[in-house]
């Protein structure tokens, strides 16, 4: 028995919670690494500016962690509340990484508490930096484990279904499914990339708004360097993700690329619009490119949507999501590369207003890329919740109250979203860098 209305609202509620959680979760994964880098550079160069950078980032980080924890708890419970049949099945096979994730959280939460409240307790700064390592490890591993669960939803394995009975369950094989390597590395890599560009965008914004302090310039250069490294890895791993899809989820790739007929030497369709009659307009067609993206060879055969029954095809709008993600990735590689080269060569146009504004946009754009990427991945898996095994509608709850819960949660996210932005901006506006630097210098002398 399927309750259509419950399915519909469960989907919306899941989408809302995850789309909201992922913003804070991504920053929660990436920022500890950035703090570590700044703290370490500060100790090595004996430069107070980098230490202060680490401190100020940490303060902002707490807010994003708190909202991440709250929304994460919500999604964790919602998985059972909204998708009880899916969790009953999945719990039998993929509970292990979910369980390990809680240890990662635990570990992270403990050391974050210690790190935060011990800034001035250690004579030796290095000891304090050591405390940050478990925080960063815990954060990254929570992303690794949760992404393994999601990879399993895309490429389930490690069990046999015989007459509806689960047998021969192998939790380790379920974890190391074919989707896992590319998915995990792409998610973690893009989290580092996004965090770097978000922090860069804050530094650029401060520079635009009057403060010409060297502190912000150092922050900007550091974050752009880290951002460049991780946007390049995102590009490489993103390409590998495409190859994974071609092999294991060809319908997702075909829908994302509007590739209808199975063919050799396939062309790649960039941009473009599709009208009511499913005709493609204003698109850029690059010969052979899709075959290269999918299999690394210009003449390889790429499976098209014609191989799949109508009811097994994902929605075609994921093409736009794919383009948004890739375009932002390319743009950010360009922006950060050009900035770094220009700083090395002394070209000054990157210090001008228009370029600074471009960097300011980079942070929000990276977050948009994260959202687009997840929507691509999740909508592209439809109509399946466990690909090939359980349809989304079959996994959903039958409760009639999901619509009211949706409203309540929207209210909560609104409060959290506005609250976190207000608190963050107030926190930094009230306590500008210049003043804090002065106070800390005073500290050192007395």
């Amino acid at each position: 028995m399927i309750n259509e209305e419950a399915v519909y609202y469960s989907r919306i509620l899941t989408e809302t919670t995850l789309s909201f959680h992922i913003i804070y979760a991504t920053l929660g994964v990436g920022i500890p690494l950035m703090i570590m880098i700044a703290h370490w550079v500060g100790i090595k160069k004996n430069d107070e500016h980098y230490i202060l950078l680490a401190r100020r980032w940490t303060r902002g980080f707490i807010i994003s962690v708190a909202v991440g924890v709250v929304t994460g708890t919500a999604i964790g419970l919602q998985l059972s509340l909204l998708w009880p049949k899916f969790m009953e099945l999945a719990g039998n096979v993929i509970a292990l990484p979910l369980f390990m994730e809680t240890f990662a959280f635990f570990f992270e939460a403990i050391f974050l508490g210690i790190y935060l409240y011990t800034w001035d307790r250690f004579e030796n700064q290095r000891k304090h930096l050591l405390l940050l390592i478990p925080v960063a490890i815990g954060a990254s591993f929570s992303a690794v484990f949760i992404t393994i669960v999601n990879a399993f939803m895309n490429a389930p394995q490690g069990f046999d279904l015989i007459n509806g009975e689960l047998v021969n369950v192998n939790p380790i094989k379920a974890m190391f499914n074919p989707a896992m390597p590319t998915k995990v590395s792409h998610v973690v890599g893009t989290a580092f990339m996004t965090s770097a560009f978000v922090l860069a965008s804050i530094a650029a914004f401060r520079l635009l708004r009057g403060s010409n302090h060297i502190y912000h310039k150092k922050a900007l250069l550091l974050t752009m360097k880290v951002g460049l490294i991780f946007s390049l890895t995102s590009l490489i791993v993103g390409d590998l993700s495409g190859k994974y899809l071609a092999e294991y989820q060809p319908e997702k790739l075909a829908a994302a690329e509007w590739h209808f007929e199975t063919s050799e030497s396939a062309e790649l369709i960039l941009l473009g619009f599709m009208n009511e009659e499913e005709e493609i307009k204003y698109a850029l067609k690059i010969p052979y490119a899709l075959s290269i993206l999918a299999h690394g060879s210009p003449t390889a055969e790429v499976i098209g949507l014609d191989q799949f029954a109508e009811e097994d095809r994902p929605p075609l709008y994921i093409h736009y999501l794919f383009n948004i993600m890739v375009a932002i990735g390319m743009l950010m590689i360009g922006v950060s590369l050009l900035y770094i080269i220009s700083r090395a060569r002394g070209w000054s146009f990157v210090e001008l207003k228009p370029y600074r504004w471009l960097i300011v946009c980079g942070g929000p754009l990276a977050i948009i890329a994260i959202e687009a990427g997840w929507w691509l991945a999740e909508v592209g898996r439809q109509p399946w919740i466990l690909r090939g095994i359980m349809r989304t509608a079959e996994g959903a709850t039958t409760s009639n109250d999901v619509d009211i819960m949706l409203l309540l949660f929207c209210g909560l996210y609104l409060v959290l979203g506005i609250g976190s932005v207000v608190v963050l901006s107030r926190m930094f506006r009230r306590n500008p860098v210049e003043r804090e630097l002065k106070e800390r210098k005073g500290d050192v002398h007395t």
């Binding site: 964790g76 800034w119 107030r426």
Partner: protein, 343 residues
């Protein structure tokens, strides 16, 4: 009852639930006392204590809960189906209340000046949460869920008109306030804060009586609601007797203003005996009469890997938790607010 994987699984989960109940009670109750303090102008006495102790550990408290619900779906996947379908409303409300608490810590303590309305919501959520969460225990007693077309459905009318529901709600409230007050008495005393100690000691004594009365009342009501469970409780009478004796010990120490630390450990013992006694007598049901730990259990391969992961995880966590407690709870300078710190 011989020990098998099912029993190991439920013991692990029950233990984490117990841990959550104790740490969360301290947290919920403190929020309530704080809000009460603000409105009766005793705020300065309590707020400092609460911020020193609660802010560094609230995330850890939350993980206990996450651990429990992730673990129960791992060990007993069918609970996702039965409880997931029926608990949508009460648990969603609990999540939203938890959201309010979490954001209070973040926005108020790290962020900016405090806002009275927010503190009020924070305090109120401390009362509503135990009520919302304790519904789960009530439902597990059976009689509120029926199976319609193969799907479990919760009967709200029966639930809200049952005296059992309301006594469990009252017990959860007074237990939260009692546990919290006793702990904070001890903490305030360690911090050498005489005023706060006296105030909290008074709160502890006030909440002791309703706690023990409703606890007894619930056992009595079970005789009408769920005879099978009632009889198993009676056969474990000695556990509940020890619990009652420990209760008397706590109250006596508080009354004589002696050894607040011992008083708090007796309280932990009291709740442990009652909680485990309740759990053992519930065996083997997870949900009367639909679900036992045996028919909901996961496959053997998963069970073994979860237990291995659990042991490995504990090996990592116990030293870290020890470090945390050593730095904040048992560090005299920190407790008294001497050390330099910043957040």
């Amino acid at each position: 009852m011989n020990v098998n994987l099912e029993i190991i699984g439920i013991i692990v989960l029950w233990t984490f639930l117990f841990g959550y109940i104790i740490v969360a009670s301290i947290d919920f109750g403190a929020g309530f006392f704080n809000a009460y303090g603000i409105f009766t102008k005793k705020q300065h006495i309590l707020t400092k204590i609460i911020q020193r102790y609660l802010s560094p550990v609230w995330e850890v408290t939350n993980v206990f809960l996450v651990f429990f619900f992730v673990g129960i779906v791992g060990f007993f996947p069918s609970t996702a189906f039965y409880y997931g379908t029926t608990l949508l409303v009460p648990v969603s409300i609990a999540v939203i209340l938890l959201g309010i608490r979490g954001s209070y810590y973040a926005f108020e303590t790290y962020g900016a000046r405090s806002h009275k309305g927010y503190a009020f919501m924070y305090g109120l959520s401390g009362l509503l949460l135990p009520a919302a969460l304790s519904i789960v225990l009530t439902i597990s007693e059976g009689g509120f869920i029926s199976i319609v077309n193969g799907n479990p459905v919760l009967d709200y009318w029966t639930l809200f008109t049952s005296p059992l529901t309301w006594s469990i709600v009252v017990l959860s409230l007074s237990a939260v306030l009692y546990i919290s007050a006793v702990f904070l008495t001890w903490y305030a005393n360690k911090a050498n804060d005489t005023l706060a100690t006296e105030l909290l000691r008074r709160y502890s004594l006030i909440w002791a009586l309703p706690t023990i009365i409703t606890a007894g009342g619930i056992i009595y009501e079970l005789a009408f609601h769920n005879v099978e469970h009632y009889e198993q409780i009676l056969s474990l009478w000695w556990m509940f007797l020890i619990s009652a004796l420990l209760f008397i010990g706590t109250v006596w120490l508080l009354w004589r203003r002696k050894n607040y630390g011992v008083a708090f450990s007796l309280l932990i013992g009291q709740f442990a005996f009652a909680f485990y006694g309740f759990g053992i007598s519930h065996y083997p049901y997870l949900l009367y009469p639909h679900l036992t730990i045996y028919d909901s259990f996961t496959n053997e391969a998963m069970a073994i890997s979860l237990i291995i992961a659990f042991i490995a995880g504990l090996a990592l966590l116990i030293p870290s938790l020890y470090l945390l407690l050593k730095l904040f709870l048992f560090n005299k300078d920190y407790v008294r607010g001497i050390s330099e710190h910043e957040h």
